[in-house]
């Protein structure tokens, strides 16, 4: 496979070996093999149906490989490392009828976070107001996306998997999110972003992963401007 430009020295945090995910007569992933070094920001690019979301879901432990294996921080049973992974999907993964604090309060219970100020803190991190009592259903799309990111950050994971975090987000919020991601990467977190708006991350990202037809076809240190969407 393609060697990552500068990953050779550091031991990888994620190792994927010949990963295949098949749904009946359709293969979403077709033999992905890759290694990822820690504390870097990766951007995954590719057409619809290239397997980006399935790759992310496999890393999150949501989708079990048909064949092949994933190892994160040396563990192949991803349930053991789920505390270290934060996953933000394309849908919001939030209850529309509950307010921001109620939503995060419930998810904090799932991670057994007892520090009651944590929820309010993480909401302020994404620049929302913790005292807002409206149900999420009445939020704008951009606010929902930010709250969704807050949910993924709630348990302070070491690895972040973000699926289309900038879709329908206004330009300023998007730049705020990019700055947040950059600071978290500097703090040692490994971040994967699937996005169609790669230009937003052109300066910040460490590496671009190009996917096509269920495989990683290229890894580059810079955005290939000619092909950028």
């Amino acid at each position: 496979m393609n060697q990552s430009p500068s990953a050779a020295a550091v031991p990888p945090i994620i190792e994927i070996a010949n990963l295949v995910k098949q749904f009946g007569r359709f293969a979403a992933l077709r033999g992905v093999t890759a290694e990822f070094a820690p504390a870097r920001l990766y951007v995954i690019l590719g057409d619809n149906g290239a397997g980006k979301t399935t790759l992310l879901r496999s890393l999150a432990g949501l989708s079990r490989p048909t064949r092949g294996s994933i190892s994160i921080a040396g563990k192949t049973d991803l349930r053991e490392v789920c505390r270290q992974i934060g996953y933000m999907a394309h849908p919001t993964l939030l209850y529309d009828e509950l307010s921001a604090m109620e939503n995060l309060g419930y998810f904090a219970r799932l991670y057994e976070i007892n520090d009651s100020s944590r929820c309010a803190n993480v909401i302020t991190t994404v620049k929302l107001d913790p005292s807002l009592e409206r149900p999420v259903a009445q939020y704008s799309q951009g606010m929902r996306q930010r709250l969704s990111l807050a949910r993924a950050l709630l348990h302070e994971p070491q690895i972040l998997l973000l699926d289309e975090p900038f879709s329908n987000v206004d330009v300023r919020s998007a730049h705020d999110m990019v700055a947040l991601l950059a600071s978290m990467r500097s703090a040692g977190k490994t971040i994967f972003v699937v996005t169609h708006q790669a230009t937003l991350l052109a300066e910040t990202a460490d590496e671009f992963i190009w996917m096509e037809a269920g495989q990683i076809v290229d890894r580059t240190a810079h955005l290939k401007t000619a092909e950028a969407p």
Partner: protein, 229 residues
């Protein structure tokens, strides 16, 4: 292995014709029920075969849940499907026997009813396999098979209580059976077991082939867009 198939087919053919001759001609005519009693030689062996197949299905399902072996799953599909075929035979020949003997097509008799419930459970099993969208259909199906197996003794027991409280026509199972009839019964059972083995074998080969085709198509479904570009 492949050469064994026509041998088994020939053996089944011979056994079935011999068993048919025995059932229709050689077996003594029953005194009270007359010739209609000869349905017995098809009805009972089919029931035993169906139960045996469902039992194998249960074992294979449990094995699959523990080991996740694809072969165990294939065996589970095959036995469930052939089992439903034999169970259908039981449910069709049952009323055809009941009508002339008791004057009714159907009665909520313990054996008839448990067979019907078993049939329903396994039809549901096959439908689940057909309609599942998950990449892990075998797991769901195996779980259902375990539930079905747990249910059968409860069904049997509950109908047994039900029957002792409601008068029912007595079925001629009172222990003693003419040794000549038993002989014919066993020959028929052997013949139907061979038929079941033959059907299972063909279905197993079909299943294996189908999985290979699905794998190939899955690979191709990812290649196709690349080619056309």
């Amino acid at each position: 292995m492949k050469r064994a198939f026509p041998i088994l087919a020939a053996l089944t053919g011979i056994l079935l014709s011999y068993a048919l001759y025995e059932a229709l001609v050689a077996a003594p005519t029953e005194q009270t029920m007359g010739n209609v009693q000869r349905i017995f030689y098809y009805h009972v062996p089919s029931a035993w075969t169906a139960f045996l197949l469902f039992f194998i299905n249960f074992i294979a399902s449990v094995f699959y849940l523990i080991r996740r072996s694809p072969t165990a799953d294939a065996i589970a599909v095959v036995t469930a499907e052939v089992g439903v075929v034999f169970c259908t035979v039981v449910l069709v020949t049952g009323p055809l026997w009941a009508r002339p003997v008791w004057g009714i097509w159907w009665t909520w008799d313990i054996r008839l009813t448990s067979t019907l419930v078993l049939w329903l459970i396994y039809v549901a099993y096959l439908m689940l396999r057909r309609f599942s969208t998950s990449g892990q259909t075998p797991v769901l199906a195996a779980a259902l098979a375990v539930f079905g197996a747990l249910d059968v003794p409860l069904v049997y027991f509950s109908i047994w209580i039900f029957r002792t409280q409601h008068p029912q026509p007595v079925i001629g199972g009172g222990g003693s059976i003419d040794p000549r009839m038993l002989h014919v019964l066993l020959i028929n059972w052997a013949a139907f077991l061979c038929l079941a083995a033959l059907l299972c074998w063909s279905r197993f080969r079909l299943e294996r082939l189908q999985r290979q085709v699905e794998d190939a198509q899955a690979l191709e479904s990812m290649l196709a867009p690349e080619r056309s570009r």
